[in-house]
C-alpha cells in the first residue's frame, strides 16, 4: 500500500465568520488533514476550482453568493461536481437542511458541532466518496 506516501486529504473550510473557520481548520490540521479556507461563496468556488479539495465544509449563510448557491454551482460544474460537500450551518430548521440537500450537499451538520464529531462526518464522507474518485485513488 502506498497510502502513507499519499498526501493527507485537503479540506476546504468555507465560513464568513473568522472563529468558525479557525476552530475547524485548527482541529482538522491538528488531526492531520490539509486545510484551506474561504470567507465567502465566490472565494469558495475559486478555491475549489484552483485547489480541487477532497472535501468541502460549506457554511450556508454567506455574504454575496451564499452556501446553497455556491454548492449548486460547484455540483453543476463537472470539474468540481465529484467533491463531497458537507453543509455546516447554524440553521436548525428542516427547510434549510432540505434546501442544502436539494442543491447537492452530501451531508448537513448543524452548528454548534463538536470538532471531533465533524471529523467523524468528514472521514465518513471521504470513505463514501473514495470508490467514485477512481484514478485519484492510489
Amino acid at each position: 500500500m502506498t497510502s502513507d506516501k499519499k498526501p493527507p486529504p485537503l479540506v476546504l473550510v468555507v465560513d464568513d465568520v473568522d472563529h468558525g473557520r479557525e476552530i475547524f481548520a485548527e482541529y482538522l490540521e491538528f488531526r492531520g488533514f490539509r486545510v484551506a479556507t474561504a470567507a465567502d461563496g465566490l472565494e469558495a468556488i475559486e478555491k475549489a476550482h484552483e485547489l480541487l479539495p477532497d472535501i468541502i465544509l460549506m457554511d450556508l449563510s454567506l455574504p454575496g453568493i451564499d452556501g446553497w448557491e455556491a454548492t449548486r454551482r460547484l455540483k453543476q460544474d463537472p470539474s468540481t461536481s465529484a467533491i463531497p460537500i458537507i453543509a455546516l450551518t447554524a440553521h436548525a430548521l428542516a427547510s434549510a437542511h432540505d434546501r442544502a440537500r436539494d442543491v447537492g450537499c452530501n451531508a448537513v451538520v448543524t452548528k454548534p458541532c463538536l470538532p471531533k464529531d465533524l471529523e467523524q462526518e468528514v472521514r465518513r464522507q471521504l470513505a463514501a466518496a473514495r470508490p467514485a474518485e477512481g484514478p485519484a485513488q492510489p
Binding site: I23, Y27, F30, A92, T110, L114, P115
Partner: protein
Amino acid sequence: MGSVAHLDVLPVPRGGGSIGAKAKLSLVDALLAEHEVRPCALLALRWLARHTGIERALCLAVDPESGRLAGLTGLGVPPAAVDAFSLDLADRAHPLVVSLSGGEPVAFHDSGQTVPRPFETPLGHSSFHAVPLGSSQHLQQELGPGLLLLTGAGDGPVTEDVLWAAELLGTRLAALGYRRIQADERRHKRERSLLLAVIHAVTDPILLTDADGRILIANAGAETLLTAGEEKREGWRRAVALNNMLFSASHFTAESGPTRRELLLVDPSEGKELLFEVLSTPVAIRAGENGIVSVLRNVTDLRRATEEIEENYRRLRLAEAATRAERDRLDLILNSVLEPILVTDPAGNIVRMNPPAERMFTFPGRRNSEVERRVQANDAVFTSFVSNLYAGQSLRWRGELNLLDPRTGATIPVEAISGRVVSKHGEETAVVTILHDLTEAMEKALLYEQVKRHSEELREKVREATAELAEQNELLRRQAFQLEQASALKSQFLANVSHELRTPLNAIMGYTHLMLEGVSGAISAAQQDKLARVDANARHLLSVINDLLDITRIESGKMPVQVERIRLPELIDEVMTEVEPVIAGTRLAVTRSLPEELPDIETDRQKVKQIVLNLLSNALKFTPEGSVAIRLDHHGPAGEISIAVSDTGIGIAEENQKTIFEAFEQADSSYARRQGGTGLGLTICRRLASLLDGRIALASRLGEGSTFTLFLPANSRPA
C-alpha cells in the same frame, strides 16, 4: 086486477045437500074457534073447496061506513086483487048489489045475452055464482053482510051445502062484528099507507131494523142504497152488498136514547163514496122487542166543505208560520251581527234595532240620567245623518259620526252606512243603517304607526350594527392578518435568534473542545475542570435553544410529520440504549414490561422516540432513589397503545398537575435547573402527542412518584 067480462045473470036452481053432518060440524067447530074475520072467511072458503066442486072463491063484505062492497079474502085469487076490489053500494043497479039484496044465489054466465052492463071481478073471465051470506032473515031487513063469488061449481045448481055454509059464515061474521073490524082495518091500512108515503117522501134514507139488524122497513132512499132487484147491473148489486156489509158492521142495539155516528157508504148508481150521519133511535116494535130507527143524513158535501175550510185554515196557519219563521230568522241574523243595525221608517222613526244598536240608542235606566242625555245626543246625531239620505236622491249614504258610549260617555267614532229599502212598486219602505265602530281601526292604525316607527328604528339599528360588524370584521381580518404576519415574524425571529445564538455557541463549544482535546497545548487539571463546566453550560444552552425552536415549529404548524410502520419494542430498546449512560450514573432500578402481542403502529417514529426519551429522562432526573418502570399496553382491538413511564420520584402536587404542561413550568424549578431541564420538555411532548392524534396523561402524588402515559392510536395515521 080483474079482467073485463060480459056475463049473463041467471037464477041458480037449488040442488040437494050431500055433505055429511060430521063435515058440517067440523066447519061449525072451526068457525066457532076462530075469532078473526078474515081467517073465518078463509076457513069457510077452504071448507067449500074441499067439500064442493068450487075451484076459486072470493068473499066480499059490506062496509057500512064507506057504503062499499070490498074484498075480504079469496081462494085462488091474488091477495092484492082481493084488497083492490071495491064496489059502491049506491050503485043499486049493479048485478052484484042486486044479488046481495035478492037473498037468492045468482049465476053469472058467459053467454053474453042478458048482461045489462059489463063489470069486473077478480075471478076474471070465468062464469061464477054469487051467493049472499047470512040468513034470509037478515036479508029481509037490510043489505046482507056480504057475497060469496064461487067458480068451478059448473053448471050445476048451488047446493044446499053451499047455501048452508054461506048462511053459517054470514051468521058467524055478523057475530064477530066484522063490519067494525073491517072498517078499523081499512083505517089502519090507510094510515099505514099514509105513513109509508110520508116515510117514502123523506129524501133521507130511513130504516127500521130489528134487534138482529134485519131491515123491517126501508124508504125509497134506503132501498136505493140497500136493496137491489135482479134487474140491476152487477156493479150496482155489488155496491149494495158492500153497503149492507158496512151498515151491518156499524149496526148496534142502543138501549136508550138516540145515538149519532158517521157511516161511509157507496152510491150504487155512481160508485162515489157518500158520507152519512146516522141518527139511531131505539123503538119498541113488539112487546119485549126493540128495533132501531135509523135516519141517514148525507153529509158528503158538508164534509167536503168542512175539509176545504180546514185545508184553507191549515194553509193559512202554514203561511203564518212561514212568515213568523222568516221574521225570526231575520231577527236572528240581525241579532247575530255584532255591529249596530238600525231600521228607520220613512218618517225617520227607528222601527227596529239589534242589541248592539239598543246599547247605543236606548236607556234602560232611570230618566233624566246621564245615560239618557247621551242616548238622546246619539239619537240627534243619527237622525241628522239619516235626514241627509232623505234630502238627497242617492240610494246609499256614507259618513262618519261621533257617538257617545251611553255608559261611559266616551266618544265612539263610527262609520255609518245607510241604504234605502224600496219596494217593488218603487215605494220607499225603510232605511237600514249599519254602524261600524272605528275605535279599534283607529287604535290599530295608531299601533301600526308605532310598530312601523319601531320597525324603522330597529332596521336603522340593525343597519348600524351590521356596518359596525363589518367594520369589526375588517378590523379582525386585518388583525388576523397582522397576527399571522406577527406569527410569521416571530417564527422568523426565533429562527434568526436560534441561528445567531448557535454561531457563538459553536465558537464557545468549539474552543472549549480544542482546549480540552489539548489542541492548544496541555492544560492543568483545574483548567480542565473549569472548561468542563463551560462545556456543560454550553450544552444546556443548546438544548434550550433546540426546545424553543421545536415549540416554534409546532405552533407555526411547520413541524413535519413523517409516518411509517414502527415496532415499539425496538424503539424502546433504542431509547434505553441512549439513556444507558445516564442510568449508569444512578442507583435506580429501571424495568420495562411488554404485552405478549403488540401490534405495529403507523406513526412518526422520530417524534414518538423524542416523547419517550423526554419522559424517561424526566423520570430519571426527578427520582433521587427507587425505580423507574416503562410499561407498554394494548387496549382492545380498535383501542390505543399506551407507553407508561412510572417513577418513585418527588411527585407533583395536584395543583401543579395542570400547569406542568405549560411552557417553562416545573414543579420545582431549582431542582430542575440542577438537573439540566429546560422547562419546555413536557410542553413539547404534549404538543407532539397531539400532532400524532395521541395524548399524555399524568397520575402523580407529591413525594410518592409520577406516572406519565403516552396514548397513541393503534393504527395511527395522522393527517
